[in-house]
């Protein structure tokens, strides 16, 4: 019986795409003073990967690049959504970032990563957790 490896390749591409994208969006949004450049880079990476996916005769390469390209395009949009999370205080703001600094001055954002803890099994307010 021959094993079909396309599922494993697709799974690896999906997990890697989501993982790398998830981490990169948070780190880049935290540091970048302007989001247009990283968004453009993500769009170009996505486009290049989709061109490879369309032109490749290998099923494995086409599948992996197709998935990675889509996640790169998704990440391009995620930069703005991550900034919205920072504005709401749902993600930590960087006091050295000119996009974040005014939000911190106005008290709209926080430098604390509120998700970096274990669940407690009860509702806990931001002030309770910050304390």
């Amino acid at each position: 019986m021959t094993l079909n490896g396309i599922g494993v390749v697709a799974a690896l591409a999906t997990f890697l795409g989501v993982w790398v994208g998830h981490v990169a969006v948070r780190k880049v949004e935290y540091r970048a003073p302007d989001l247009r450049a990283p968004m453009l880079v993500a769009l170009i990476i996505g486009l290049a990967l989709e061109v490879v996916a369309l032109s490749s005769t290998s099923l494995y390469l086409s599948g992996a690049c197709g998935i990675l390209g889509m996640t790169a395009w998704f990440d391009a949009a995620e930069f703005r959504r991550q900034f919205k999370r920072v504005k709401k205080g749902h993600a930590p703001a960087n006091p050295n970032n000119p996009r974040h600094a005014p939000l911190l001055t106005e008290g709209k954002a926080t430098t604390i990563d509120l998700l970096k803890r274990e669940p407690m099994g009860q509702v806990i307010t931001y002030k309770e957790q910050a304390a």
């Binding site: 274990e118 669940p119 099994g121």
Partner: protein, 111 residues
Amino acid sequence: MNLFGLALGLAALLIIGLGLVWVIRGEYTLGYLWWPYVMGLGGALICVSLFFTSDWLSALIGVLGASLVWGSTELKEQAVRAELGWYRFNPNPKPQPPFVEIIKKIKAPHL
């Protein structure tokens, strides 16, 4: 022109999007302590994908498995989000998974 990758990428995006929904509902109903079972199911699906002769079916099962593995790492953070009031918090007792005491000793992974 090979449309397989582009179409698979779109399907993967849809499956990942559905992952966001089941993570929210799953955490609300079952709680985050079920994460090892979700991760195991995802790993099992990836292994099962090896045995499909259809490339499409194998690839979709693989993507579904990967999204379950990813989702299992999101359950803990989702529980914290609910506790912070960003999502609906379920105050009712949640069903405990088998071997819950062992699971509690393991640090739940997140990306």
